[in-house]
C-alpha cells in the first residue's frame, strides 16, 4: 500500500499498519510468559511478609525435599556484590535484613510452578521486626538508619550528596530569596501531597534465564535491555557481556520495566541449578514490588509585589525513594526544572529536593516521573496566586508566559519557549476561554495546565540492511513497548528514506549480543534518538543502493530517486530498476548494503553553579504543552467525571498520526487515573492498602473521555524529519488541569492526588 510521506504535509497521512499489529490481534505475539524452553524449571519467590526486620530463621529444608523441587536458593548462593542503576545498594536476595514488604528472600525452583509455590509455603521464616519507617518517620531526626552501611555503597555514575536516610538531596539556593519574601506585598503558600501510582501494565513481569559456561541468556520483556543486562551482570558478579538479554514482546511498561526485577532471581536460580529457570510475578507480587511513581510532599511559596508580579519562590519537595535506590537519585533533581517553569518569576527561586529511604517498595519511573505531581503543584499554586490577585486564570498565565530565550533555573536556555504562547493561542481557537466560562454547567469546573517537557537524550543505534529481495532489515535494541515508536516510527522513517513500502521494513527484536547500545524506551526518546540514528543509517544505505543502481542504469547516483520500491532516473521514470535488483546486484559489486547510525543528543549547556547535587541538568529537545480539562462533580457521590479534555502539544513533526494520537489518548487516560481513580496508599505499617486490581482502580472504557488534540509542528533540526519526543508529556499535565478544574467546580482546592470522592464529599458536605 502507498503510505503518504511524512515530509509532505499537504497530504493527510494514510494509516500505516503497524508491523506488530497482526501478530498481536491474533494472539501470536510472544510476551515474556509465553516464552518457554523444553525442560525448563519454574521459580517461586519467597518474599518478605513484613516491611522491616532482621531475618532470625530461614529454614528451607522442608521446601528442598518437597515434591518436584530441584533447589532452593538463598543469599548464601549469591555473589557478594551489590548493584544498582545509580547507587549500588541492592542484592538479589535479602541477606540478613529485609527493608520492604515483598523483598525477595529465597527462590524455590521446581518442575512446575504449582510445585514451587506449594513448596515455598513449607519454608520456615522468622523475622524480628523493626518499626517500619515511612516518608514522615524516616525524615525525623534520630530515625533509625535504614541502610547502616550507606557510606560504603558505591555510586554507579559518580558521587552525589546523600547521608543516612537521605538517599539524595539537591539544593539550589540563590541569594535574595528570604529578602524578597520579607519585602513581599503578599505571600501565597500551599502544600501538596501525592500518593504513589502503579504502572499497572497488563503483562506482569516474567523472565526466563539459562546459565551455561559462566554466561547467562535472559529472555525477558523489558524496556531497557542493556540496563537489565548491567544489573544482572553486577548482581551475578560477571562481565557485562557475559549476560545476554533477548527481548520479548512487551505487554506495557511505562517506565516500570526499565530496570531488572525478576531477571536476577531467575539468573541466580539458573546458576544454582544449571537449568533454564522461568519466573513470573502474580499480579499481587507485581503490584507490591513495582517501582511506582513516588509519593511526595511539595511545598510552594511565592512572594508577590504590589503589582502582582511574582518576585521570588521557595520550593521544598520530599520524595519517597523506597527501600533501595533505582533511578530515583537522578530524578531527585527534577524539581529544579519545574519549580518556576512556564510562568515568569521575576526573582530568585530556591529549590530543596530531598529523597528519603523508607521501608516500602523502591520507587522509580512512571511516564512523566515526578513531573506529574510537580506540575500539578505548580499549576494549582498558579491558580491560587491568580485567585489571590483576583485575576482571570488564563490571563494571569498568558501575561507571564516565558518566551524564546528564557533560561531555566539550571541555566539552560529555552530557545523556543515562545511555542507556549502559540499553544495557548491554539487552545483559544479550539475552546475559547470566555465561552467555556460562560457555558460552564452546575457542578462543573475548568482547569488549565501548561509547561515544558523533555526528550531523553541518551544514546541509540541502528543498523539498516537492504536485502536482495528489496526488503529492509533494521537491527536495533530499541524497544517497542507498545507506543509504536518502533513498529510505526522507526519503520516509517526508514521506509520513507529508502523509498520502500513500510510493510517491507522489518525491525529486529532487541538482543544485547547483536544490536548496538540503546538507552531504552524512556523519556519519549525512541522516535527522536533512534529514529535519527536509523535515518542516518538509512541515508547511508540509500547512498550505497543508489551507487549500485547507478551502475545498472548507467547514470550518476545523484540523478536517481527512489519511490515505491523502484529506483529511477529523476524525470525519466521509465529508466528504472527495482530496489531488489539493485540490492542483489550490490552483493557482487559494491558489497552487501548495510549501514549503521548512532546518535545521542549533544549535551546542553547549563550553569554548573545552579545548585548542589544537580544530577539532571537540562530538558533536552524540549517540547511545550497546554492542557485544558472540564470536569463535572456528582453531588450524590463526590465522583469527578472528566467531560472534556483538550491537549495542545508540540511534536516537532508528526511521524504517524494514528500512533501519536494513541500516545496522547493513552497518556491522558493514565493521568486521569492518577488524578482521580487510582489510589495506592501506604498504611502506617508501611504496607500498601490497595493490593489487587479490584482495589487499585484503573480507568475503564466506560469512564474515559475522547481527548481532543492539536499538534504543533516546529521541526527540530536534529530529529528525524524534525520529530521530537511525544509519548510522555501528555500525562505530565493532566493532574494539574484536573485539579484546577475540580477547584473551580468546588470553589476550593483539594491539595492531594488522587482527588478521591471522599475528599470531594468532605467539601460538599461542609466537613472539609
Amino acid at each position: 500500500m502507498t503510505v503518504a510521506p511524512i515530509a509532505d504535509a499537504s497530504e493527510p497521512q494514510t494509516a500505516m499498519r503497524r508491523a506488530d499489529g497482526p501478530a498481536k490481534v491474533r494472539g501470536r505475539a510472544q510476551y515474556s510468559a509465553d516464552y518457554a524452553e523444553v525442560g525448563m524449571l519454574h521459580g517461586a519467590v519467597l518474599r518478605s511478609p513484613v516491611p522491616a526486620g532482621r531475618i532470625t530463621r530461614l529454614d528451607v529444608g522442608a521446601a528442598e525435599s518437597a515434591e518436584g523441587v530441584v533447589a532452593v536458593c538463598t543469599a548464601a548462593d549469591q555473589p557478594a556484590t551489590r548493584a544498582g542503576w545509580v547507587l549500588q545498594d541492592q542484592t538479589t536476595l535479602a541477606i540478613d535484613e529485609v527493608r520492604y514488604e515483598g523483598e525477595p528472600i529465597a527462590v524455590v525452583v521446581a518442575a512446575t510452578r504449582a510445585q514451587a509455590i506449594t513448596a515455598r509455603d513449607e519454608i520456615v521464616l522468622e523475622i524480628e521486626e523493626f518499626e517500619p519507617l515511612d516518608l514522615q518517620r524516616s525524615a525525623q531526626d534520630g530515625a533509625r538508619v535504614i541502610h547502616p552501611d550507606w557510606a560504603d555503597y558505591v555510586p554507579s555514575m559518580g558521587e552525589y550528596p546523600r547521608e543516612g536516610n537521605l538517599a539524595a538531596i539537591m539544593t539550589s539556593e540563590p541569594d535574595g530569596v528570604d529578602e524578597a519574601f520579607a519585602a513581599a506585598a503578599r505571600i501565597v503558600e500551599s502544600t501538596y501531597t501525592a500518593d504513589r501510582q502503579y504502572q499497572a501494565y497488563l503483562e506482569p513481569k516474567a523472565a526466563t534465564v539459562s546459565h551455561d559456561d559462566g554466561k547467562f541468556v535472559v529472555h525477558t520483556a523489558v524496556q531497557y535491555p542493556f540496563n537489565v543486562r548491567d544489573r544482572v551482570a553486577q548482581l551475578m558478579g560477571v562481565r557485562l557481556t557475559d549476560v545476554r538479554v533477548i527481548g520479548e514482546t512487551i505487554g506495557g511498561g511505562f517506565g516500570a520495566k526499565l530496570d531488572a526485577a525478576v531477571e536476577p532471581l531467575a539468573a541466580l536460580a539458573a546458576k544454582v541449578t544449571g537449568r533454564t529457570v522461568s519466573i513470573r510475578n502474580s499480579r499481587q507480587e507485581d503490584l507490591l514490588t513495582c517501582p511506582c511513581r513516588e509519593n511526595a510532599v511539595v511545598t510552594m511559596r511565592t512572594a508577590l509585589d504590589e503589582n502582582g508580579a511574582m518576585i521570588a519562590r521557595d520550593v521544598v519537595v520530599d520524595m519517597d525513594n523506597g527501600a533501595y535506590s533505582g533511578e530515583m537519585p537522578w530524578l531527585a533533581s527534577l524539581p529544579l526544572h519545574i519549580a518556576s517553569a512556564t510562568y515568569r518569576v521575576e526573582g530568585p527561586t530556591r529549590v530543596i529536593a530531598r529523597l528519603w529511604y523508607t521501608n516500602t517498595a523502591p520507587t522509580g519511573a512512571f511516564r512523566g516521573v515526578g513531573g506529574a505531581y510537580l506540575y500539578s503543584a505548580l499549576e494549582q499554586h498558579t491558580d491560587a496566586i491568580a485567585n489571590e490577585l483576583g485575576e482571570d486564570r488564563r490571563a494571569f498565565r498568558v501575561d507571564r508566559l516565558i518566551d524564546d530565550g528564557t533560561p531555566s533555573l539550571s541555566g539552560q536556555v529555552l530557545e523556543d519557549a515562545g511555542i507556549l504562547r502559540v499553544a495557548f493561542d491554539e487552545l483559544e481557537q479550539v475552546a475559547p476561554w470566555d465561552e467555556l466560562l460562560a457555558d460552564v454547567g452546575p457542578n462543573q469546573g475548568i482547569g488549565l495546565a501548561a509547561g515544558v517537557w523533555m526528550t531523553n537524550p541518551m544514546p541509540g543505534q541502528a543498523t539498516v540492511r537492504v536485502n536482495e529481495d528489496g526488503t529492509v532489515q533494521v537491527i536495533t535494541a530499541a524497544t517497542e513497548n507498545g507506543s509504536g515508536a518502533v513498529a510505526l516510527g522507526i519503520t516509517r522513517i526508514v521506509a520513507e528514506e529508502l523509498g520502500v513500502d513500510p510493510a517491507d521494513v522489518s525491525v529486529t527484536m532487541p538482543d544485547t549480543a547483536v544490536s548496538g547500545y540503546d538507552a531504552g524506551s524512556q523519556g519519549s526518546r525512541t522516535t527522536h534518538v533512534v529514529g535519527r540514528a536509523a535515518l542516518d543509517a538509512a541515508r547511508d544505505a540509500k547512498a550505497q543502493l543508489l551507487e549500485a543502481a547507478a551502475e545498472l542504469l548507467e547514470a550518476g547516483p545523484g540523478d536517481l530517486v527512489v519511490a515505491n520500491g523502484v529506483i529511477s532516473v529523476a524525470g525519466t521514470p521509465t529508466v528504472s530498476v527495482p530496489v531488489a535488483e539493485a540490492a542483489a546486484a550490490a552483493l557482487w559489486s559494491t558489497g552487501p548494503i548495510s549501514a549503521s547510525g548512532s546518535y545521542a543528543t549533544p549535551p546542553i549547556p547549563y550553569n554548573d553553579a545552579c545548585g548542589v547535587g544537580v544530577m539532571f541538568t537540562a530538558m533536552a529537545t524540549p517540547t511545550y504543552h497546554v492542557h485544558l480539562a472540564v470536569v463535572e462533580v456528582d453531588p450524590v457521590s463526590g465522583r469527578v467525571d472528566v467531560v472534556r479534555y483538550i491537549v495542545i502539544q508540540e511534536v516537532g513533526k508528526t511521524i504517524d498520526e494514528v500512533g501519536l494520537r494513541g500516545q496522547i489518548q493513552g497518556a491522558v487516560t493514565q493521568g486521569i487515573g492518577y488524578a482521580l481513580t487510582e489510589n495506592l496508599r501506604i498504611g502506617d505499617d508501611c504496607r500498601y492498602l490497595e493490593r489487587s486490581l479490584e482495589a487499585y482502580r484503573l480507568p475503564l472504557a466506560v469512564d474515559t473521555p475522547t481527548v481532543e488534540y492539536r499538534l504543533l509542528e516546529h521541526p527540530d533540526e536534529a530529529g528525524p524529519f524534525g520529530a521530537k519526543g511525544a509519548a510522555e508529556p501528555p500525562l505530565v499535565f493532566v493532574a494539574g488541569a484536573i485539579s484546577n478544574a475540580v477547584a473551580h467546580a468546588l470553589g476550593r482546592p483539594i491539595n492531594h492526588l488522587p482527588i478521591t470522592p471522599e475528599a470531594v464529599m468532605d467539601v460538599l458536605d461542609g466537613s472539609a
Binding site: S637, G638, L689, P699, V702, D703, P757
Partner: protein, 297 residues
C-alpha cells in the same frame, strides 16, 4: 479438593443431604473461584450445578416472577430491562460482561456479600427465596434469609432453587443507585434499591433496600415509614422532607471503614443515594402511569 458434576436437582440434594458441610455448590464461580484464589475458601468438594438447566428458568405468571437460581446477570439484563429496570440495572453492574455471562442471581444472593448488588433491589421487591432439600422445599423472605456477612439461613443440606418477586402494579417505579469510584467493575461502597407506587399523587408500598452499609443488606424501614402515604408536591417530595426521610436510613445502617471507603464517606453519601433512588423511582412511577405501561407486569 474434588470437582464433581451434578446432572439433576435430585442428585444435588442427595449430595447435600449426605455431606452438606463439605460440599460447595458451584455455579458460574465468579465468587467461589475468586475466594479460592485468595485462599479464603477451601472446599472439599466442588459440586458443579451449572448444567442443571431446570434451575435457569424465568417464569412470569399469576402476578409474579419466578427466577431460577441459575439465571445469569446477563439473562436478567436482557429480560428485565423494561419490566424490572432496577433488577436489570443491578445485574448490569455485577462486574463486566464476563462476570455477568456466568454469574447467577442465586450465587449473588447465597454468597451474601454485604455489598452484593442484587439483594438491596430484591429486598425492595419483597423477594422470597425457595430452598430445596431432600426433605422438601420451603420459602423464606429474603429479609429473613440474609443473616450476616457471608451468612444466610441456608442449611448445609439445602440448595437455593429460585427467587420469587411479585409483579408490579400500575404506577410502580423502581431504581438502583450504586456508589463506586468508577462506573463499572466496582464493589458497591453504598448500594440502594428502591421501589414504590404512586397513586393519585400519593406514595404507597415504599420499599428501600440498602447494601454495603452493614453486615448484610437491610430494609430501611425508617425511610419507608417516613414516606408511606406521603402526598407529592408537583410530582416530587420537597427536598427538605426528602432529606429528613432519607436521614432515617441511619436507624438501620451500621457504617464501617474499609479499604474501599471510610465510614465518614458512607455517612455523607448514604442519605444522598437514598434520596436519589427515591426520586428516580418516583420519576419512573409517574412516567409509567403516564404512558400507561406499568413497570414489572
Amino acid at each position: 479438593m474434588r470437582f464433581e458434576r451434578a446432572d439433576s436437582v435430585d442428585s444435588v440434594l442427595q449430595a447435600l443431604a449426605a455431606d452438606g458441610a463439605d460440599v460447595t455448590p458451584l455455579a458460574g464461580g465468579t465468587d467461589v473461584m475468586v475466594q479460592m484464589q485468595r485462599n479464603e475458601l477451601h472446599p472439599q468438594r466442588l459440586l458443579h450445578i451449572e448444567p442443571i438447566r431446570d434451575l435457569a428458568q424465568i417464569r412470569s405468571e399469576n402476578g409474579h416472577h419466578e427466577i431460577g437460581a441459575l439465571v445469569t446477570h446477563d439473562d436478567l439484563v436482557r429480560n428485565y430491562a423494561e419490566s424490572l429496570p432496577a433488577v436489570a440495572a443491578a445485574a448490569a453492574t455485577v462486574g463486566g460482561w464476563q462476570t455477568q455471562s456466568v454469574g447467577t442471581i442465586g450465587g449473588n444472593v447465597v454468597n451474601a456479600s454485604p455489598a452484593a448488588d442484587l439483594p438491596p433491589v430484591l429486598l425492595a421487591y419483597d423477594a422470597r427465596v425457595e430452598l430445596a432439600s431432600s426433605q422438601g422445599t420451603r420459602q423464606i423472605d429474603l429479609d429473613e434469609f440474609l443473616v450476616d456477612r457471608r451468612q444466610t439461613q441456608r442449611r448445609p443440606d439445602e440448595l437455593l432453587t429460585s427467587i420469587r418477586i411479585d409483579a408490579n402494579a400500575d404506577g410502580t417505579g423502581d431504581a438502583y443507585v450504586k456508589i463506586g469510584r468508577r462506573t463499572a467493575m466496582e464493589v458497591a461502597i453504598v448500594g440502594v434499591g428502591a421501589r414504590l407506587r404512586v397513586d393519585d399523587g400519593v406514595l404507597h408500598d415504599v420499599r428501600l433496600g440498602v447494601a454495603a452499609c452493614g453486615p448484610r443488606a437491610f430494609r430501611a424501614r425508617g425511610v419507608e415509614d417516613a414516606l408511606e402515604g406521603f402526598t407529592l408536591t408537583d410530582g416530587t417530595v420537597p427536598s427538605d422532607a426528602l432529606a429528613d426521610a432519607s436521614a432515617r436510613v441511619f436507624e438501620d445502617a451500621s457504617l464501617i471503614d474499609d479499604v474501599r471507603a471510610s465510614a465518614n464517606y458512607r455517612r455523607a453519601v448514604l442519605p444522598r443515594a437514598v434520596a436519589a433512588a427515591i426520586s428516580q423511582s418516583i420519576g419512573r412511577a409517574i412516567s409509567s402511569a403516564e404512558t400507561g405501561k406499568g413497570a414489572g407486569q
